[in-house]
């Protein structure tokens, strides 16, 4: 689903400021960015550049203090908390640097969790979980708990969980940050495969320029909350 003219998400002069006593932290400051449907965009920047904050705003996890974010043809700032939760549930898939799998649940239960939250019928869930795990090649690890998996496997499981509700937008926050380079590359290949096979829009936060240059269609560089450059990756 797009906001029109093939645009999946559009940030329009978006700001996210925090007040820390008398000081104002401008985590994201007046950023305008358009992400087209099916695009793989890397938000590149060093620590504190505001890339993760911008990702959270686009994923509906946080609300901007200024400007607007349009997704699904709607201004996310105008959605109430229930509508925003539905947006996160049905339109967005999230992958985190630290995987964020629930340790006491098996892989199958972890992947099934978004389906529970989206109130998908029980009868349908098994097949959806199987499909998602097959896509990340973990279908044989259904009953394993996260602690029984390697880092790469955990991130693939997290990816399966993000895909299980068949979202149109996939947001990945430093998905390779906790992985060695070889495993990180395998995850990136998987993301690229998903983008190409499913035509999914992917927005990835990273501080590794080589990774962004190798896999992203476009790179938007941020520093101190401002968008520095935004261009097609040659």
């Amino acid at each position: 689903m797009t906001t029109g003219n093939g645009v999946a998400v559009r940030a329009e002069r978006v700001s996210r400021h925090y007040e820390m006593g008398a000081a104002v932290i401008r985590a994201v400051d007046d950023v305008t960015l358009e992400i087209r449907a099916g695009e793989f965009v890397a938000l590149l920047g060093s620590s504190g550049s505001g890339k993760s904050t911008l990702l959270n705003l686009m994923a509906g996890l946080d609300r901007p203090t200024g400007g607007a974010i349009f997704a699904n043809g709607r201004n996310l700032s105008e959605l109430n908390s229930l509508e925003l939760a539905r947006y996160r549930s049905r339109t967005v898939g999230m992958v985190f640097q630290s995987f964020n799998l629930l340790p006491r649940m098996t892989l199958e239960e972890n992947v099934e969790l978004p389906l529970r939250l989206a109130e998908v019928d029980r009868g349908e869930r098994g097949a959806r979980v199987q499909e998602a795990l097959e896509r990340v090649r973990l279908e044989k690890r259904l009953t394993h708990r996260p602690s029984e998996l390697s880092g790469g496997e955990q991130q693939r499981a997290a990816l399966a969980r993000a895909l299980v509700n068949r979202p149109t937008l996939l947001f990945a926050d430093e998905p390779t940050g906790n992985l060695d380079s070889a495993t990180g590359e395998s995850i990136m290949l998987l993301l690229k495969e998903i983008q190409q096979k499913l035509g999914m829009t992917i927005v990835m936060v990273t501080h590794e320029r080589p990774l962004a240059e190798r896999f992203a269609d476009r790179i938007a560089a941020l520093a101190d909350g401002k968008l520095l450059t935004d261009g097609v990756n040659s």
Binding site: N56, A59, L61, D62, S81, L82, A85, R86, R88, S89, R90, V92, M94, F96, N100, L102, R104, M105, L113, P114, R116, L117, A118, E119, R122, R161, N165
Partner: protein
Amino acid sequence: MKAGDLGELALRNLREAVLRSSLTTLGVAVGVASLVAWLSLGIGLQALATKRLSNSGLFDTVIVTQRRNLQGMRRPPAEAAPAADARALDDDAKKDLEKLPNVVEVYSQTRFPTEVRYNGNPYSTIVAGIPVSAKGNGSFDGIQGSFFSGSNADEAILQIEFARDLSTQPSSLIGKDLIVRYAERQALPPQAGGLTGGNNSDPDAGGFSIVPREKKLRIVGIIETEPAAGFGGFGSGRLLIPLEVASSLRAAQVNDLRDAVRAIKGKPVYASLTVRAKSPALVDGIENAIKKMGFGTFSLLDATKNLAVFFKIFDMLLFIFGSLALAVATLGIINTLVMAILERRREIGILKALGAADRDVKQLFFVEASVMGLLGGILGVGFGWLIGRAVTLGTNLYLKQQNLPSTDVFSVPWWLVLLAIALAVLVSLAAGLYPATRAARLNPVEALRYE
């Protein structure tokens, strides 16, 4: 989130913190047990009192008196003279009372002092006439021996206290004979200067004399209840005989002196009549109808109304005391859930990132609280019941040592079981309100950052 999924996740969360959840549940159980134990004691005592009164067999009766008589016996009337048209409690009135709807029978009270001779020894007591219909009203349940064989049988039933006066082994009295000595009232012919009332047909118009008489009676039964307690009379009837036998004795009664100086159109009048209703529930209506007829009435329902008020207040106080433990348990639930928020902060963030609404998070905590409340409530009712059994056992051991009959001082009715469990769940939900709201309001970005 669907209810089934909420339940599964909540149970999983409780299982993960099994020790803390169990201890919190146990706290609720102790609170509910305290509440159930106190309330069931109040209910048990109320049931015991009501049962004792019900077994008197007088809950379905109304004592009817002539209005002006009672006023005259108590204190001088406010008016100079009693109402001249006060209706007499005579045979006509008795017939009218019998015609009232839901009235089973109407009979006069016969009760008189006597001296009983048994084994050559004298014993003073009160004889009361009992209608044979009283057999089925519950007051003779548990009788040792049997009820009267007929309405004219020369038989007696002894109240246990009096039977103990006669013998240390009361049951051995059944089948034995005793002699009742009483004062028979014999009418005298009308005398000059005596009371006249126009067409005087009263056989006692000339007064009466007192003649000592004796009557041999066979003891057929012994009862522990008091079906002829002082109600409507002047003392507890300890020796019960059939009403028709009692009437045939023409024994002098305490109101005879008053009747001797009363003149109401020359007709014999009753000091009081007993009206028996089809059921205790109908007594109120019958009482009102009789009052409209111009008579004074009294029923045990009047007395039990005060008793009911007393027990309502008593139960309320017990409820307050019992609830204190439940209040402490409530704090335990709040503490457990607040701790759960701290521990599961990151998990709440993940749930929200995956699409959980604030409502889902809130409901999850509510379900966890209510599961602890439900389990605590069920356990608490069980504990409360056990406490009740233990106290009853102890009480009965003590009563046995005191040579008193055993009794059930605790009563746990179904409504109390359901009420206690429902209250435990409600209190748990109330306790979960603050933690659930706090968890629901967590900012997902901040929650995800939490380590």
